[in-house]
Symmetry: C2
Subunit: 295 residues, 2 copies
């Protein structure tokens, strides 16, 4: 793997990697596993895509805390003689790491009956943003457009090929690292990334913040040919949902980052820990608890 990673890798060959956290910053650390048959199937996507999306998912957890990446560690398990090869997987991890300016600190490779990748991402932030910071009166915003990964998954599971744009959202998620820092500078005080699906992740936010959340489903930004309800149920989006104390200039955001920022709801004192979705004034209930396709 080290050969593939080249100068993205700073592995020392020691028992552990050594790095420095900038003075005044706190360390932010997260670990995330992607398993064949649970999070992806090998007949759907390439080795490089498997590596890429696993690394991007871990980096997205750093983004959700408004942290800058310090480095990542990869624990890779795969069957002998497997396609994709270690080299393909490592190349995908490298691409995602490189794109986010994140050094690869080291790895651990093992033979195993099933392909899996566990990626640990380390970052630093002066003031990490929590899920618990949302307060009544805050406006909810979401980055990007939702529903692509869910649509890709539905296509594969029904035996067809997903549209290229939906497929691309599944295999090449983008950790919104720069966006997160900008959003915090512009009033975001609670943040979470959409990994389990908008509906599920908003519940996490509502519970952590002890506040109620109301979403206008008609305003949820959707990928092409995806309904708002499907968008609210789609997981592994790796877009950010934020609660902001101020109104954020969504036009400036799209100019700066090339993706939309959309106000989709508000934080209320009523119903702490609950999320209400309304469409044309009527209450709707997206399916919660997106838990990968193996269920």
């Amino acid at each position: 793997m080290l050969r593939v990673w080249g100068d993205v890798s700073v592995g020392t060959g020691d028992d552990a990697a050594v790095l420095d956290v900038p003075a005044g910053s706190r360390l932010v650390v997260t670990t995330d596993t992607a398993i064949e048959g649970v999070h992806f199937r090998r007949e759907w996507i390439t080795g490089a895509e498997i590596g890429y999306r696993s690394a991007a998912a871990a980096l997205s957890d750093l983004a959700a805390m408004a942290a800058d990446p310090l480095g990542m560690l990869l624990a890779l398990s795969l069957p002998e003689g497997l396609t994709p090869s270690i080299e393909d997987l490592a190349a995908g991890v490298k691409e995602a790491a490189h794109r986010s300016g994140c050094p690869i600190l080291g790895g651990d490779t093992n033979r195993a009956p099933v392909l899996s990748l566990t990626i640990t991402a380390l970052g630093h932030a002066r003031l990490p943003v929590r899920r618990s910071g949302a307060r009544p009166g805050d406006t909810l915003y979401v980055t990007g457009k939702l529903g692509g990964p869910g649509a890709a998954l539905r296509a594969w599971l029904s035996g067809s090929q997903p549209r290229p744009d939906h497929r691309a959202r599944f295999v090449y998620p983008v950790a919104r690292l720069d966006e997160a820092k900008w959003l915090v500078e512009h009033g975001a005080r609670a943040m979470i990334d959409v990994s389990d699906g908008l509906s599920s992740d908003l519940h996490h936010l509502a519970i952590a913040s002890g506040a109620g959340i109301v979403v206008n489903l008609d305003t949820v930004p959707t990928a092409l040919d995806v309904s708002p309800l499907q968008a609210a149920e789609s997981g592994e989006e790796y877009e950010l949902v934020i609660a902001a104390v101020t109104q954020i200039d969504c036009d400036e955001f799209v100019r700066r980052f090339g993706i939309p920022l959309t106000a989709i709801g508000r934080v209320e004192a009523e119903g702490p820990g609950t999320v209400k979705f309304e469409a044309s004034g009527t209450r709707v209930d997206p399916v919660r608890g997106y838990d990968h396709f193996s269920r």
Copy 2:
């Protein structure tokens, strides 16, 4: 898992854990995977033992750098309805973490076809000790007695039960964290933990340090009923091998830590990157490249 871990866990429920590295210290981080059928078999050891030894192995990598633990993250994958349960595995991880005073920062649990644990351990050290610091003239020492885990494995693989003392060394390795710091204060300037086997790990040290190593096999401290050659080939010991610029008082070490410290060889300028084992003046060659029992 959080319920089992109780106050050893500091997980926040956020996308990532947040912690502080003491000022003036460097961050030391390592990741390590244990897989059913590769590193252990479920019919040999209990769930708590699987969890314990996985966590101890990760902590041992911190010890090998003379680092103090900051925390650990666990990525756990296991089949549905599996024995052992998540609770048993988590209890073992907790026990090892607690024993080393290491908080559990969080985890990621997934259903998967095969049981595996990936543990990331974070630590800090003002001056992390590397494998590369050995210099000609240094004396080599090893902590503890070697050969127990290898003997346990041989027994299981031959269909019998290991002796209780050999089995205990396999299931309850001890990360030599306090020992490592004391050894550095007393002259250790290169260090590695014995995970692949003394012979293999000394090669790593010799290569990283660009020096030759000569071991007197007759002096290698062995577990009961284990030959020096078997001891030199036994992996997953998690004892420390050090190269020290000074003579270390082994009597004081045993009084302080209750385990032996033994001089087993020396570092030379000749044969950089090579390791010679001598027994009664004759050269012997332990098998290198201990690579678990699945080979």
